[in-house]
Symmetry: C2
Subunit: 480 residues, 2 copies
Amino acid sequence: MNTSEFRRRGKEMVDYIADYIDGIEGRQVYPDVEPGYLRPLIPTSAPQEPDKYEDIMRDIEKIIMPGVTHWHSPHFFAYFPTASSYPAMLADMLSGAIGCIGFSWAASPACTELETVMMDWLGKMLQLPEAFLAEKAGEGGGVIQGSASEATLISLLAARAKVTRRLQAASPGLTEAAILEKLVAYSSDQAHSSVERAGLIGGVTLKAIPSDGKFAMRASALQEALERDKAAGLIPFFVVATLGTTSCCSFDRILEVGPICNKEAMWLHIDAAYAGSAFICPEFRPLLNGVEFADSFNFNPHKWLLVNFDCSAMWVKKRADLTGAFKLDPLYLKHSHQDSGLITDYRHWQLPLGRRFRSLKLWFVFRIYGVTGLQAYIRKHVQLAHEFESLVNQDPRFEICAEVTLGLICFRLKGSNKLNEALLERINGVKKIHLVPCHLRDKFVLRLAICSRVVESAHVQLAWEHIRELATDLLAAGME
Amino acid sequence: MNTSEFRRRGKEMVDYIADYIDGIEGRQVYPDVEPGYLRPLIPTSAPQEPDKYEDIMRDIEKIIMPGVTHWHSPHFFAYFPTASSYPAMLADMLSGAIGCIGFSWAASPACTELETVMMDWLGKMLQLPEAFLAEKAGEGGGVIQGSASEATLISLLAARAKVTRRLQAASPGLTEAAILEKLVAYSSDQAHSSVERAGLIGGVTLKAIPSDGKFAMRASALQEALERDKAAGLIPFFVVATLGTTSCCSFDRILEVGPICNKEAMWLHIDAAYAGSAFICPEFRPLLNGVEFADSFNFNPHKWLLVNFDCSAMWVKKRADLTGAFKLDPLYLKHSHQDSGLITDYRHWQLPLGRRFRSLKLWFVFRIYGVTGLQAYIRKHVQLAHEFESLVNQDPRFEICAEVTLGLICFRLKGSNKLNEALLERINGVKKIHLVPCHLRDKFVLRLAICSRVVESAHVQLAWEHIRELATDLLAAGME
């Protein structure tokens, strides 16, 4: 494909995308296909000679779209949102064309420098303590990771390296394996599965701290575990606190937990993957109070800040803690500015070596929406969540199962888990809307997350009417 | 930005991209900026109110482009190529618009199923043994990772979990820490730094096997290390063999090393990050002979197969080895087809949870180029490399430092390392072309990699003339 054909096909693709997004409400949100549907529809091997471009685009509608779960449909209320906006898409097109791999400053200075400054912009929007910003030429700074899972893992690995260095400095004979065996990390029993996975990968014990009645990790429960483990000769070294848990968007009490971490020299990582975007609004910023106690903080603009996947924003107070865990410098990656102290080589901050020019997405989105536009977007979603909450509250057959703080509502029919499982099965069977469930303690609960950029009050009302009707049918059939 | 503005801006962006790529030869390949150049050029915080789109696009030329290292310039010969093609860019636009997060089959069936089939197509293009393909409903299959570094790490973690299970089954009292302490992994002393990093992250000892005169890992050296370590009570469990090393594109002898791995029940991972793309040509496929001994194999279509970053192709013979190392299933990620045995939940195959619809890029590129088009592309680059090699060979002041097999030439002036360092400094100072060096044993060597999609014989000739002139100046100045 030459440049002039790209001009033509690119513009057609822009129109296809615009049509797709404009018409997304008309597509069934969840597909009808069964596992294995796609393989019989396409050849068993790649074509020897080129196919026609028209045939590929025809196959998009014929083969791909029937198997797509439409995450950006206003009828999609599952998981958490994944961000999508036109400015981010434009920036991503440009990022793809520049196509630099920004593992070091020299590999493309603009890629590294825009990232550092955009992470400062974003940090200021969140009112992060100055220690997390790179601006003042301090020891902290931000980096774009691929996902919150990676940020958690990297924090754990950095904390592991740090405690190992400290213990070996105090007792030079101590082996790494002897230390590893005794390390303990903690998170709430509501933490995301990726935290457990980070523990598995890092080879350290991870203990779940029982959350309180509001599904929050509190000082008392953490302190209790800590004392027990220290008495048993273990070495507590790492705590993940979650702001906005996946199941019910609960908030660990970082103002309580933070001081304990600092006192015990445990690394505190705050995972606000979903909720973090809301902290750009002054009225939600108090939820982040206590971040000053953290060593690292992470949230996903690619969830709720209109920046298309992937863009997970992570800050550390001491960048040397990350680079100290990972730094390896072969000659083919060295460059003349490396030791100037002025530059950042982001490859030492992350797991992979390669990285895209992702900060362009932040730049475009911040500038096209402005901070006020982004705040308005968050507020609209939160308001829609409260609208749904009040609808649920008006129906005595239903109950709200956790406090609605941001854009997630956990609710259920008063009655058995079986009843609620049956309700969800009907909802996802009819496919007018799409939801996923969670467990809160022993209760099976339905989660409705406000997701789409184009979701309006009418969609929320429609979703609720639909759920009520299915519930009425179910209850009429005698289920309890 | 509403849809109609996106239509307009999107088409302008397509033209900007087409102009950028068409005019890339005219841009200086490596930027003039100094560290810290960007921050003073933009505001210190995000705008409260929206900026104008025109201002952003103006800033691209004014602020971003002066700091870009142009990886797709035909004057760029550094590192290894990073792929770029129009069909991949079109597919990436579509992927961004669909914007699904394909962590499970249900999260977007098309995303998972196209990936499985595209990995089969690609596996067949490489003539991988059937055990690596998913098609036959066997135990193997392919997955798209973000980078070769992640593939290496995942293999190591899967191997670690597997050997731990085996040893604990044999001796139930054995702790993980006791096992970890004794595990040893091996790679050639020419392996990429990401292998060492995987060892650090996994908490296992990694030993470098001395490579032979052709910078290849051989059976004898591996066997020697193995015997020594086993005699010392250690547990060898993992070997990374590299096909196409970063320094000089040497090839570990997998036909020799593979049988040892199988005999000793060590996991063999083959990292062919750069070279792998060439194996779609029958004349280069013999370099992959021995892959039948491997447990996992990885290469980067995002390097040399015209698929824009990121797209790292990984296959395993036993998918249960990966999922066995990582599988965690919270309720909010469960879905009704999960236990059918028919479906793939790729989140169990990778480190992050989220993932883009990257297989669209493979589909577009395979169909627009056809296998013959992709083969022609590889062959053209290899031919250009040999053209440069023969130019070097015609100048008695220079020497070739490693066999030229694919698109990389390692060369130097006969003389001191200092002389060659000075030569590289001049080359990268003038910025007509861009190269990076490597060390081969004690020699400082220049690496010229054929990178750009649009590089032609004329560019290679020009690069050589330029290098020769700078060398002549340097030698005339009396340097040796």
